[in-house]
Homo-oligomer: 73 residues x 7
């Protein structure tokens, strides 16, 4: 098994990722950092509508790992 989930997160630092949270929220931004709880830091983050169009700009943002459904690098 070549790369485990946290290896993939690690390789994705500095790249753009799409994150879905519970409660139907989608955020896109540049992955800056994460920790063992899968809490993550994004830069140039923006919330997307259901149609994946920009809705709210956040700049830097911390997303709590518990509430993350998926992360797509």
């Amino acid at each position: 098994m070549t790369n485990r989930p946290f290896d993939l997160l690690n390789e994705s630092v500095g790249k753009d990722v799409l994150v879905r949270l519970k409660g139907n929220m989608q955020i896109r931004g540049t992955l800056k950092a994460f920790d063992v709880h899968m809490n993550i830091v994004l830069e140039n983050a923006e919330e997307l509508t259901d149609e994946e169009k920009p809705k709210t700009k956040f700049g830097k943002i911390i997303l709590r790992g518990d509430n993350i459904l998926l992360i797509s690098p």
Copy 2:
């Protein structure tokens, strides 16, 4: 008892799986990796509609184990 849940996951690496998440999401893709929390990595992942038709293409994706309902290899 021949194979425990994580043995079956292990045997499924490299194969296509269907994953259902809380909040009624379905993802299909090739299982690349997993960890002890059942966080998983899929490749060529795509979200399916309720009728199991493709909806969103993700490429690589990390799914958080907490929110997984079922995995079908």
Copy 3:
């Protein structure tokens, strides 16, 4: 107290069980394996509608223990 919940699971390996998950899902299949988190593996699994008629066929399936409401051997 003759048999604890995990003893009953153990006795049910190889038999058909009905499983209800959070979010109103019902799955029927042959219990192949389980672990201490009550994650279970079913074979010849199929999702049932509310009227307990077959809806989706899964073949092998891993169900995550956290989201299981009940298992009926």
Copy 4:
């Protein structure tokens, strides 16, 4: 304090109990066993409608402790 919650469970083995689960489910059956997570085994279990009439017969059943709201011996 004469009997703690698990003492009462212990005294109720062999007796009929009513169990309410999250998601508005009610099950009645004979308590056969339980474990430290409050996972319980019922025999001659049946699901009740909101009006407490029988709806589905289960025979033996394992209920996962996490999702139990109340148990009434």
Copy 5:
């Protein structure tokens, strides 16, 4: 700080308490016992409607601590 939450529970043994659970349920009864998980035992318990009128009589009842919102002695 005179009494911590579990001290207040301890003082309330033998008295009538009102308990609210997740999912909008209210139970009134005499507190008989509790444990470190805030699982509690009530006697002469009855479920109340939203207007706090009696709805279902339970006799003895075990309420699982996880799902308790508040206890009012």
Copy 6:
């Protein structure tokens, strides 16, 4: 960093606080005590409607920390 969340709770003992719980409940009362799980005891507690008008009087009350969204001294 001058005061951590539990320091602020400690300073608030004896003062009126507003607490919001999951499921849209709001309680106001005098903070009497708390523990490491953020379980709290209020005195002269009353539930407020959405418009923050009094709805139900509780007297003493234990609120379970898990289900607390915010506490405002």
Copy 7:
């Protein structure tokens, strides 16, 4: 990886942050303190409507980490 999620929180002490909680609540205020559970203290906190206009003023406030979706400095 330059700064992990808690480093970013630490750098944000004394600055204004926007916090989203489960159940669709948004709070803006000055970050005063936090702990390892991501419980946070805000000063001059106010709840925002969906259109991000002020709705309720709280002054000091403790937000429970469990229920936080995101924090944007």
